[in-house]
Amino acid sequence: MSYSVKVIDHYENPRNVGGFDKDEEDVGTGMVGAPACGDVMKLQIKVGKDGVIEDARFKTYGCGSAIASSSLVTEWVKGKTVEEALAIRNTQIAEELALPPVKIHCSILAEDAIKAAVADYQKKHSA
């Protein structure tokens, strides 16, 4: 199977690899995994007082498409409010990266990771 140019670019030059302290008040952490392929993805967002995502980091163990999907969404969520970030759909990720049908689940995982990160952030701030 051949990867698209964009997937290879994100795979070879992943953006925003790393992590924040998950116990910080302004950090939301999303951990998701796909048992069928064993991929594990961590996505973290750092949210400003105004509810805008200032920064994002990821760490992914999985195939090139999973790494590219998570790398891409860290770029996309920056500058968005958490509500806007929740509107990102896996189809947009798959389209941007030209993922083949067998790799659609990687983009679903990335969408789930955003949701999980936002949910974690909101849980910290609901109290």
Binding site: T29, G30, M31, V32, G33, A34, P35, A36, C37, G38, V40, K42, K59, Y61, H105, I108, L109, D112, A113, K115, A116, A119
Partner: protein
């Protein structure tokens, strides 16, 4: 023989997770003998084709029932549950996934440092953990009949078996590299 019956029925075994491995192997030989294509060498084409389909089905059934993870997945499928169903955010608990990520990191590092000792140690540690998970899974299936919990446990084992395969890959890779070096020396 009935081509459509499930694998447990085919092997005359109760649909349970704990299973009599000796009985499985004995029944496999018996089935294999009765459907072996050689026995149908003199038969007509249709009959020969049928015997080949049978042999393939018997082999698939044996492989599925013999491997604990494949058996668990099959039992769940028979019960109408799909352990591979779309992840769904927060389907796995965060701690488990964090731990998986740490394991992956350790494997990556050991591979980078070309440390077979570290990989073997990881493999042993993982084997112990996986063993405990399978015992718990057997209890979920056969004692508690708790299918929802069995789905969760099976999903965890899918991650862990994947990790085990990754460690084996890394070990095979390093062993090959070592062999190549020895051959060149």
């Amino acid at each position: 023989m009935d081509l459509t019956c499930d694998f447990f029925t085919l092997f005359r075994l109760a649909p349970r997770f704990r299973l009599d491995v000796a009985a499985l192997a004995a029944r496999y030989l018996e089935l294999q003998n009765s459907v072996h294509p050689d026995r149908f060498a003199q038969a007509g084409q249709a009959e020969r084709r049928l015997s080949m389909q049978w042999a393939a089905r018997v082999n698939e059934a044996y492989r599925t029932l013999k491997e604990p993870l494949a058996r668990a997945q099959y039992l769940l499928r028979l019960a109408g549950r799909d352990p591979e169903a779309a992840s769904g955010a927060l389907a796995e608990d965060t701690d488990f996934l964090m731990q998986q990520m740490e394991w992956r990191e350790e494997v990556r590092q050991a591979r980078q440092e070309r440390s077979m000792a570290a990989l073997r140690e990881l493999r042993q540690r993982l084997a112990r953990e996986v063993q405990a998970q399978y015992e718990a899974l057997a209890a979920r299936f056969d004692d508690e009949h708790d299918l929802a919990a069995a789905v969760g446990q099976t999903r965890r084992l899918m991650f862990q078996e994947k990790l085990r395969a990754e460690i084996d890959d890394a070990l095979a890779f390093l062993e090959d590299a070592e062999d190549a070096e020895n051959a060149g020396a």
